[in-house]
């Protein structure tokens, strides 16, 4: 729910298909490009946010979002109206991002990593507001890079669960996996992210003090 407010989306669209959306889908399947454009407008924020979270940079996120919409158009006739539309969209998005990541890996390209000049930093004093804002920004950058370092399956699971806010069962549905497997992937991802952040937040040093 908080995510829907953040993205300024209709709240009921998160969990169930809207009636007008159903009509738009039918028209788009019949070849109505205007209806498909409406579907894109309806889902563009989520798709682009998801691709950005999965790929870690805007340029790749835009290309991936474009590919997601092309796949939506291509496979829209196969869409099962009983299934949540956005779960289906997220499923396509995850697959596209995996393809992008594997293609980049073959070409020797790495998405954003922590080696881009980020160094260890001490947490500033909470009394200084400027430093609080800087601290928050740095922490978010750190989390983004930690997520980017995860394996694709764990990344998809943790993004859907913690960033997009889906319950574990829906994450399993989107990823076409079992809840147990998804839970294991989420646990592993959180542990790796914490270890990753420990290096840069000087948690061990703080513990020693």
């Amino acid at each position: 729910m908080a995510l829907a407010v953040e993205l300024q989306l209709p709240i009921n669209a998160l969990t169930q298909n809207h009636t007008s959306l159903g009509r738009l889908i039918e028209r788009a399947v019949a070849g109505d490009t205007e209806a498909f454009e409406q579907i894109m407008i309806y889902s563009q924020q989520r798709v682009l946010a998801m691709t950005w979270r999965m790929l870690g940079n805007e340029a790749d996120a835009r290309d991936a979002a474009q590919e997601v919409f092309l796949r939506i158009f291509k496979y829209l006739k196969r869409y099962d109206q009983n299934r949540d539309f956005f779960a289906w969209v997220y499923s396509l998005t995850v697959n596209v991002c995996r393809d992008f990541a594997s293609r980049a890996a073959k070409q020797g390209v790495q998405f954003s990593s922590l080696d881009d000049g980020l160094e260890t930093f001490d947490l500033p004093s909470e009394q200084d507001n400027i430093y609080i804002e800087i601290q928050r920004t740095q922490q978010l950058d750190l989390i983004a890079m930690a997520i980017a370092s995860l394996p694709q399956k764990e990344k998809a699971a943790i993004v859907l669960r913690d960033l997009e806010g889906f319950p574990t069962e829906e994450v399993a549905d989107i990823l076409r996996s079992s809840p147990t497997t998804v839970r294991s992937q989420i646990s592993s991802a959180r542990r790796k992210i914490k270890i990753y952040c420990d290096q840069y937040l000087n948690r061990k040093e703080r513990r020693a003090l």
Partner: protein, 256 residues
């Protein structure tokens, strides 16, 4: 539950992904264990940071650019292509209509060739149509003037000539509706003073009158001197016509 088991479950516990009963057990352990409690706090902090990780605010131009590129890609697919239209034309419901139309056209062609195919080509048929008009005019000339019959009789100087030229079976009536093989003896004599028709056009008056008289036509408005006789012999070949001129005055003078 010892610390190792608790620490294994802490990532899920921090995100609320453990069952209620397990969560209660873990909470009890964390109240008693400082190290596990500190680790749980760090997991919770990391998870909260992740949940705050919002994507950048993309401008509308970014979204519209993506939509524009997507629409450019899909519009050719959405609009039916030429091959698609052809395929659509040959869909079952259109296929029957197309077959019916084809059958109808084929039937019309077959009917046409059966009716006219072995007689003449369309060009000849067109030529005949023109001839019918000319013949009609000629027939009118024959029947209209009451004194014309008198003039169209064979001249006395050539009674035998006209009869000998026209074969007994040389019927020329209604030849235009008959076939080419029926036009056997069209060698006819015509005493005309008008300009003869084009050689490629059959020039037979259509009338029910007896053969000798119907083949004779003399225009009262002829430019040829009245004392000159022009006789045309039409052979079986429509391209060959024998035209003979005779000076009647000279014959009369010599007869006298």
């Amino acid at each position: 539950m010892n610390c190792k088991h608790v620490q294994d479950l802490l990532p899920l516990y921090a995100g609320g992904d453990v069952e209620e009963k397990t969560a209660e057990i873990l909470a009890g352990h964390l109240r008693a264990c400082v190290e596990c409690s500190r680790l749980a706090g760090e997991y919770r902090e990391t998870t909260q940071m992740m949940q705050q990780l919002a994507p950048p605010q993309f401008s509308e131009s970014v979204y519209s650019g993506i939509r524009k590129r997507v629409l450019l890609e899909i519009e050719p697919k959405a609009a039916p292509s030429l091959s698609g239209r052809i395929d659509g034309f040959f869909r079952p419901k259109h296929r029957l209509a197309f077959a019916a139309g084809l059958l109808l056209v084929t039937g019309m062609f077959a009917f046409y060739f059966i009716s006219f195919g072995d007689s003449e080509t369309p060009q000849i048929a067109d030529g005949r149509a023109a001839d019918r008009t000319a013949d009609k005019q000629r027939t009118d000339q024959i029947s209209a003037p009451p004194d014309l019959d008198k003039e169209t009789e064979a001249p006395e100087a050539f009674p035998d000539a006209a009869r000998s030229i026209i074969p007994p079976q040389g019927k020329v009536t209604k030849q235009r509706t008959g076939r080419a093989d029926k036009r056997k003896t069209q060698a006819v004599a015509r005493f005309v003073t008008e300009k003869p028709a084009a050689p490629d056009k059959p020039d037979f008056p259509v009338t029910d009158r007896p053969a000798p008289s119907q083949t004779l036509a003399v225009s009262p408005k002829s430019r040829v001197p009245e004392k000159t006789l022009r006789m045309e012999l039409q052979t079986n070949d429509p391209n060959i016509r024998i035209i003979w001129f005779a000076d009647l005055q000279a014959n009369k003078n010599s007869g006298n």
